[in-house]
């Protein structure tokens, strides 16, 4: 922790960066994102198990983007995965953002997509036991039951779009949901529109979701929406051997193809 602060101060002092995006103490035991532009603000930084937010989402916000060159505290591997995916999608230039990774007895400073990839190779990506259990349970259900499960979940969705807004990959300035010529998905929250929204969201994240789980955590009514994109990611990985957030240089799985892609359902 101290070495993280030390490093942040050094970088700020040397003028290498304009700000550090990290975590600070929130109310009670929570952690909230924190932007430090001075030594004083750096002292408020914390880095511990309670820091769950994927900060990459904030990096895409205008207010933060315009601060100048940034360092981001990447205690979550998903933050690095997001940066890789965002680089692949031309949203972040390779080398534009420094990542500070708290590590055993110090802090690792990573400056390039390649360095992110190398670091990520050391930390295996794994779903939480809870998520995995629910995924497995859903997959084992008869289809109609699964339909009922999701319809019940979606029935609570009020289309607040918190899931979308918290996602680092939902950076589009105009989402399909907000498109009205034609109005692909009805605005009000009702059964058909909700199903369509979640189908569209999952499809749009297939091959791009970095599996941070932010969307699920953001949902005020506790719908496990992250499982939809997790599932899509599993499907993409299983069928095409590559998923989101793995590299800044591989082309997206759904905007490329192999002539010998194997499926079993086309007549």
């Amino acid at each position: 922790m101290e070495s993280l602060k030390q490093k942040a101060k050094e970088l700020l002092e040397a003028g290498e960066i304009k700000a550090v995006l990290g975590y600070a103490r929130g109310t009670s035991d929570t952690r909230r994102p924190h932007v430090a532009m001075s030594a004083l603000e750096v002292d408020k930084l914390v880095a511990d198990q309670a820091c769950t937010t994927n900060l990459a989402n904030l990096l895409m916000k205008h207010e933060i983007k315009h601060l100048g060159k940034l360092a981001v505290v990447a205690s979550r591997p998903s933050t690095l995965r997001s940066l890789l995916q965002l680089t692949a999608e031309h949203q972040v230039a390779d080398g534009a953002i420094l990542a500070l990774v708290p590590a055993e007895g110090g802090v690792k400073q990573l400056g390039t997509a390649q360095a992110f990839e190398e670091h990520l190779a050391l930390v295996p990506q794994k779903k939480t036991e809870k998520d995995q259990a629910l995924l497995d349970r859903l997959k084992a259900m008869p289809r109609a039951e699964r339909f009922a499960f999701w319809q019940k979940e979606f029935s609570r969705c009020m289309k607040c779009y918190a899931c979308r807004n918290s996602c680092p990959m939902c950076y589009c300035e105009r989402c399909t949901m907000d498109c009205n010529r034609p109005q692909w998905v009805p605005v009000p929250s009702h059964a058909v529109g909700n199903q369509e929204y979640h189908l569209v969201r999952a499809m749009h994240l297939a091959g791009r979701c970095v599996e941070c789980g932010e969307c699920g955590r953001a949902c005020p009514v506790g719908i496990p929406v992250h499982l939809l994109t997790f599932f899509a990611e599993d499907s993409v990985r299983a069928q095409f051997g590559q998923g989101g957030g793995a590299s800044a240089t591989i082309d997206n799985a759904l905007s490329t193809f192999r002539p010998d892609d194997k499926e079993t359902f086309i007549r």
Partner: protein, 663 residues
Amino acid sequence: MSRIGVFTCHCGENIAGTVDCPKVAELTRQIPGVVHSVDYKYMCSDPGQTLIKEAIKEHKLDGVVVAACSPRMHEPTFRKAAAEAGVNPYLCEMANLREHCSWVHEKNEATTQKAADLVRIMVEKVKHDTPLTPIKVPVTKTALVVGGGIAGIQTALDIANAGHQVVLVEKSPSIGGHMSQLSETFPTLDCSQCILTPRMVEAAQHPNIKLMTYSEVEKVDGFIGNFKVTVRKKAKKVDEKACTGCGLCVTKCPNKKIPDEFNEGLAFRPAIYVPFPQAVPNKPTIDTANCTYFKNGKCGVCSKVCPTGAIRYDQEDELITMDIGAIVMATGFKLMQTDKFPEYGYGKYKDVIDGMQFERLASASGPTAGVIKRPSDGKEPETVVFIACSGSRDRAKGVPYCSKICCMYTAKHTMLYKHKVHHGQAYVFYMDIRSAGKDYDEFVRRAIEEDEAKYIRGRVSRIYEEDGKLIVKGADTLMNGEPVEIKADMVVLATAVQSQDRSEDLAQTLHISYDKYGFFAEAHPKLRPVETNTAGIFLAGACQAPRDIPETVAQGSAAGAKVAALFSQDELTREPIVAVVNRQAPPLFSTCTGCFLCQTACPYQAIEQEEIKDRSGRVIKTVAKVNPGLCQGCGTCVAFCRTKAIDLAGFSNEQLFAELMTL
């Protein structure tokens, strides 16, 4: 509110036999936006078209739906009629009541209802149609021909003779390709050099042809009529203008032990060399990989002896960029390499050679001046075994296809051999004799009947050396697989024809497709054999598939004619069914977020990046932009874009959505 006219055609009994056409007219009259709806016996007939044109004027129609046959049949007809009456042709659509309805269903209410539905769909489409104008793109009337074998030479000459400029790019120091290495050619046995050299010279001297030898294509941008091509002109280390081609340097170069590519390693050449006596251009090149001066800075003999001071050790590669309207690929083929034949000892036994080496032995300009001598000891071989299909039609060697030329040149080789070694005996192991072609089968028969070549149908399993002989072991499948053993003095393998090394990379540079063997792919195997799927790029010769000279020349001329036809126009007209990325008022500028995932999805590389800048030139945003010259209108990008920033004219999101909403 639109003013749409619906015109339902009976097509005689073809539609009216099962569909109640007056009812369709009546039902569709009630669709909001439809102001006129009639049925008629034959809409495509002159009176039918007149009926439409008059209705357009009388009812001030701004959109037309013709409910008749397939749009694939008569869309141009009715669009033209609409245009003549003053309605933009792209505001005229067809509902397919014949192929998709009357011909496939029984006569009943459901069929008539379906017909009305089909019209409804198209009415909604027309409502969301926008007037479109065909796209015009200018044409640069300079062609690029890549590869200077007989294919490239022929193409270049044909285009140049049609009055257009041609740049002929050849990667080796001389044009000529494989044909320049051949001795005599089937099926006439005329000397290859004698027929080729005049064409090489003609190409070099043609006022419309710019020859660039020792050069390679580095980069291709742009699209039909408007390519931008960068060519790397490799440094020959010799100033072509100063050099007179006297050849003193070549004779004086002390480093003379470099295997000669032109003679397939059967002779040697110096480090500064002209590939062969008739080379065009006839000026030397320094092979820097083998030159002593480039290896350790010593020597410099050529520079000292050159009377005009043309040697330029410091000459560097040049990158030349040019505007090109059409490209013809003519990069030819290569032969399968020695390491693929351990069972034949090819590469191990000096007297196991390939067909091209035999051509050099038989050639009057070759290392033996046309006398057949075997490489190991220079003796005249008295028994020669030729093995056809060496590697071809052999899955294990990765070449399941037929190399096409080997049957013929093997027959030729047996004849050339017999003509030179009268007491010699030629054996040919073959799988099938494929000699389709004018005078081809007669040619093979001559080899067998007059020149007494012994043809054995079967594969050779092994070759090994014993007492100075090559023991060829095989089986005769026409004799129930009986084993055959021949003691040969020399063995000639008709090795498989393969695509050039790195042809895939070259194809990717040009954005053309290639098959799984690395041969460039034609747009259609039957109907568009010399075009690629990329508009403005054509194919000639063995780079597309194994070919002999007559076919190569025919295809070269065909490609030349295609280019000449293209260049006969000053502008190209294209269907306006292309994708567009929207532009909006600031601060959004476009709903495109610049993810550029569409870029990799586009099959035609039609999507570019555009920087939107503020007044001071600072980049505010980088967004996608479709090049309408390249876009073919497939819509793959449209379905892919998450922000719906790309749309396809003629098949827009709004149109498809509206069509769907009628159902």
